[in-house]
């Protein structure tokens, strides 16, 4: 698996303590939910932000996707709470 740009927004960004990083998930991480679980094992702010997947939404390469979406070939994955614009 190659390195992926990870972006965090709103309280996900605040809990983790950064808005952008690059990471290389292990090969067994196949979808967004698996990525979230893998990141949460880092503990601290990651565990706090990513512990409850029902509060999270995601985009792969800037398109909104359900959490069971594959991350194969993804270059950029964003994790964030439900959107509240307008």
């Amino acid at each position: 698996m190659v390195a992926i740009d990870l972006l965090y927004f709103a309280w996900v960004r605040e809990s983790i303590g950064l808005g952008h990083e690059r990471a290389t998930p292990p090969a067994e991480v196949a979808n967004v939910a698996g990525l979230i679980d893998w990141l949460a094992t880092r503990g601290g702010g990651y565990a706090e932000a990513l512990g409850d997947k029902t509060k999270l939404r995601a985009a792969v390469d800037q398109l909104f996707v359900p959490l069971d979406a594959s991350i194969a070939g993804a270059r950029e994955i964003a994790l964030f709470p439900p959107v509240t614009g307008g």
């Binding site: 927004f9 709103a10 985009a59 709470p81 959107v83 509240t84 614009g85 307008g86």
Partner: protein, 147 residues
């Protein structure tokens, strides 16, 4: 004609309206959203996902233009820090007739709320809270799904 703008500057409604009125339609509809003070909000901060936000808004405007045969669609959203009473969002449509302009305008603001990556944080005194998703917004957006 599609105009999409995500900006930290104040929204000039008069200039936007003027442009819509020169788009060649017989009807122009607009919606302006203002920051509410909702129980003592002193500051509203808007975060967005640069690039993805503009793409999402452009996609919605394109869909509206096709579905209602619009002459023009404008979507402008403020980001950054705002005070109650300031304009946060502006949607405008120009169409041959009023029903298309009005419906497309409602479609754009309803779907913007669920389809575009923006997040609101309200500050009251020392307390800053991210705003949660609202079922009423999900419901409003869902009524535009084609059967």
């Amino acid at each position: 004609m599609i105009r999409i703008l995500v900006t930290d500057a104040a929204i000039d409604v008069a200039a936007e309206l003027d442009a819509l009125e020169h788009a060649g339609g017989g009807a122009v509809a607009t919606f302006t959203g203002l920051v509410r003070d909702d129980g003592g909000v002193e500051e509203l901060f808007l975060e967005h996902y640069p690039g993805a936000t503009e793409d999402a808004l452009g996609k919605l405007a394109g869909e509206a233009i096709e579905r209602w045969s619009l002459a023009a669609a404008t979507v402008i959203h403020r980001v950054g820090a705002m005070k109650p009473g300031e304009r946060i969002v502006f949607v405008g449509t120009a169409a041959p007739h009023r029903s298309a302009a009005l419906e497309a305008c409602a479609f754009l603001i309803d779907r913007l709320k669920t389809d575009a990556p923006f997040w609101k944080r309200e500050t009251r005194g020392q307390d800053a809270q991210w705003v949660g998703e609202r079922d009423s917004d999900l419901h409003a957006a869902s009524r535009w799904h084609k059967p």
